[in-house]
Amino acid sequence: MRSLLRHWRTTAFLACAALCQTAGAAQGNVDWASVEKAARGQTVYFDAWGGDAAINRYIAWAGDVVQRRYGVKLVLVKVTDIAEAVTRVQAEKAAGRTTGGSVDLMWINGENFASLKAADLLYGPWADSLPHARLLDASDPTQRTDFTLPTAGLEMPWGGARFTLFYDGAAIKTPPPRDPQALLAWIRAHPARFTYPQPPDFIGTSFLKQMLLLLAADAARLQQPVSSDFDVVTQPLWTWLDAAHPHLWRSGRAFPRSSPEQRRLLGDGEVDWLLAFNPSEAARAIRARELPDSIRGVHFAQGALGNSHFLAIPFNSSASAAARVVANFLLSPAAQARKADIAHWGDPTVLAMAALTPAERALFGTGGRDAASPAPGPLLLEPHPSWTPALERAWSLRYGAR
């Protein structure tokens, strides 16, 4: 525990240092025309979670456009977990490869960003100097801080996410539970119909954080690093889980390994709930005929855990100019509008509508909501990243081996 703390203190120190540095660099004028010139002919290896055919098609579309427009070749490197790419960059650093790295652009956030930032493995700051960066939504706190760590221009916001619960409207006809006590009552009344992905799965751990934010006596405490009061702060969460677990799917003795696995369980009718980070997840899955059209989404009334996901460039990329050109294109109103469209991906935009021209705003459609996605509600910020491993470890001590 102590070494963990030290680790995060170092991180915080580095973060401050990087922030001071950015203040200078962001003002520096980047000659964008020369960046585009340097980018021409370069190949960008883009490491991203590749498990969703719709997202892969969207990136392929972006690849076609940047090839045509900027002469940049975009190659999607699909990974099952972006941590694979993070460990690869770490291994390259250990092997002394400071140029010609295997990753040019990566899709990350949270603890993966924290790891790379702490080990000084990121190129930049670069994100604030992109021409399209001025369109970003400055009022969205999740775009400047990634799990409480300042992004410091080392990564570019790409999309937004809100922790969403989806339920089967054909099985739950009354208004769904929207606070922890109501959810617990529902779980008790419907044995074996609720579950969540097993931490340390990303969605599973996010569920723990969402519940802790709702249940903790002082939620603001979670914005600070973990310390000796961990047991006291998290006690309400364990009380809730202890009460819920006997009534979960498989009596809480087995869990789905991932949110997609839980999606299959929901689709096949083994459970009535699905947890996910993209509010349009069900709308897209219904279009893809992975889920029946009776699925509905809901946020906790008190607020949904929210964050942004980002693009970053590793320190040893040899195509950083082209990587920035690709990132800038992905931030353009046209690319962001296509990304937000559930016919293509359905990922919420990071742009401020007020910063767009009327013609650009029109690209985003009329803003009509599909039946499966919940109405936007209050936002709960991610806890400090040190809570993630601490919660995962505590969960695994309590429930991981029985």
């Binding site: 055919a53 390259e92 490869r97 295997s102």
Partner: protein, 547 residues
Amino acid sequence: MKGLPIALLLFVGVGPVVAGFMGTVLGGLSASAWHELLLEPGLPIAALLAIGTGVVSTLIALTLSHVAVAVAFSRLRHTTLRLAALPTLATPHVAIAIGLVLLLSPSGLVLRALSPWATGFEQPPDWATVQDSLGLALTLGLIVKEVPFLILVLLGALSQVPASRLVTQGRVLGYGVFKTWFVAVAPLLQRQARFATAAVLVFGLTNVEMSLALGPTTPPTLSLLVWSWFTDANLATQSKAYAGALLLLLISVAVVGLVAGMAKSVVRQRWQAWATNGDRVPSLNLDGMAARNASRVALGLGGAALGALLIRSVGGTWRFPSVWPAQLSIAAWTQGISDMQRAVTASVTVGLAATVIAIGIVLAVAEALHDSPLARRRLAVLLFIPLVIPQMAFLFGMQTMLLRLHLDGTWCGVLWSHLLFVLPYAWVVLAEARAQLSPGYRIVSRTLGAGPVTTWVRILLPQLLRSILIAAGLCFAVSMTLYLPTQFAGGGRIVTVTTEAAVAMSSGDLRSAASYGVMQALLPLAVFAVTAGVSRRLFTHRQGMPT
């Protein structure tokens, strides 16, 4: 001149394993890493689960395989058995595991077929038919996947055992088919198949793919724990992962040693007592019948899992208890057609190159060592190291080696990593085949004035051709199934059908996963068909060629 091919074989087939293993030892030899590892909640249960599922599945699979081979032998049905084993053998572990989930889980095909008319279930029951905490489903999955492999190994070893003579003698003495087989033939066959059995045992102890789909989760098997630490972005977890890989290696070595030791002592004594007790009771045949049906079930389950996968690849939403998907769509097959083409191209080129290179090197070495059985045995032990130690114990270190050589993420790097696993299979088939050729042919040919090259090409090669074709089919099939080696050496840049299947599986996109899984099975089957066709064409009018 003799040393050159041997040096090449050692460099290609053993070098990276040694380098990779050193990397793991260096990474895992820290007190704090072991401290962290031993504090891991559920570690003893995870280790016991790995040992239990690995040992039990290997013992059952081995028994069933012997029974199946005994029956096929007594009825002269080798070819039928070989054909029955091929589909499951060619289908990768991930695909079989997912197919079994689709079949056996509470919302799986079996319960759908029985619901609601027989069971009364309108909703899937909350039964742990997969991912049960004892690892029974995982054990079943391992049996289903390993029986075909062991059957083919045993069938291949039959030619090196005087099975017909032994069976006849046993029958003449009044013993039943099964006792004859298990007392007289099986021990000799097992001697030939001991490396393959060890490989099966270690795979059972250390596999990631099957326990991911079928194994328990609280806690999972040890290999899955180690795997999740290796893929953690936190650097502190990495050294725990190296220590975990070493622990996995220690457990594997200990278990293999223990099993081998027991086979030599306790089992041998029991066997000898059984062989000499003169007991000829026919009831033993009944036990044999049960085992025979079990081996049929094991082979059938593999095919059924493949079928379940196929249905899922074209199915849309599919609520319990419908036996058939509500909508059918071939979107998974058509939408990703360009990705599929790219993956198939990479799989086929790497597979063919690995096959050709492995066979080439092994033929050269087999020629050099055809009259030194001791050297062949020692070389076999070295070559089998990658198969009998956990892949995780050296793949991470090997990745660093490729990185330093600037071969990571390249086609050549992937090819090299595949050769590690393909070479031992090529060796098993070809080295013995070459050694068993009668030396007379070569002597006569040389006496008649032919040079060594001419002799080899015109006299020896045709006699080896059938073995070469068998080796080619086997090597290509092995290359197709490799997931971890491809992922580590290719770094995601080299995309094969197997890595695509894993990515789709991890995201729950069962439809594309199933389409890739089916393709993974089809490619090696196509190669088997081609080699069988060539073999038939070449040998139809030639009698007395070695088989």
